[in-house]
Amino acid sequence: MKSKLLYILAALSGMLIALPEPAFAMHISEGILPLGWALTWYLVAALFVGWGLIIIKQRLLRFPQYKPLLGLMGAAVFVISCLPIPVPIVGSCSHPCGTGLAAILIGPLASIVVAAVALLIQALFLAHGGLSTLGGNILSMGVAGSLAGWFTYIGLKRLKVPMAVAAFIAGCMADWATYATTAAELALGLADPGGAGKLFSAICMAFAPTQIPLGILEGFITMGVVVFVKNRRPEILDLSLTCHKTAGVSA
């Protein structure tokens, strides 16, 4: 009876946390970036998305079982990055990214592609981000988040750090790398000549009170999911690594 009650309470709590609510967070809104920078970020993002699409195609041909994992993580990144979370100590909201977790489970390049799709839908229909700033947002959330999460996880695993700790730190790093990249894009696009460094520091400092606790929360989410997958279906964690080795890709 006690355990049943705990299940019901946990389910209700999960629903309350996951209730969607309109609010905006990290994405750079429409029209903020100057045209030159917007095009530059589009170009850089397009290279990674193109590479990611090739990798996904190869993996789907070789591992048909990769498809449900890709679908699950695509939906997860979309939902997680739509989810505003209040940070009580600051009185503001922001959202986790989910790209660190996606990079661990489906690989960093595939994670970039699912982030790009999620960001495109958000820019088109959810007034979240923007079409002109889509390249910049893909670069920060997709590319920086995925690569930071992946390299942190793989690096720590090679150093024999326990999987749960590696996943936790990877989740934190993915979140913070995303916001650091957003700060860099804003600083480069908005600062007067020579003032980008100062503006970058100022924006990072402004992000910090909200993003430090949120990054830690994202670390716990990543750790929880990776530990769950390890206990329930450890071969899924091997899939990403196996696919990388067989595809001859180093990152």
Binding site: S13, I17, M26, A75, G91, A127, E235
Partner: protein, 98 residues
Amino acid sequence: MKRFIMLCLIAASCFFLMAPVLSPAAEKSWDGVDVLVVEKYAEAAGRPAREPYINTDQGDLLLFVFAMAGVIGGFTMGYYWRDLFGSKASAVSCLSKK
């Protein structure tokens, strides 16, 4: 482990639900960091955000769109979750198909 995760989930939701009470800035509107940080610096630099090309931020339309996004995203996650974790027999096994 399961019990621990469930207790963490309950504690986390209590913490976030208490947010308006716990916040020292309870009178604030819980703006996202895009408003508090991104748009603040953009406006200061003379490049304020403009309306999205498809502006769903009108009345309750945005609530509807976000609710639909949550439902569709949640359904998709559940669909593939069942494939992957639903039962041992139907779950994906990378190694068995290599």
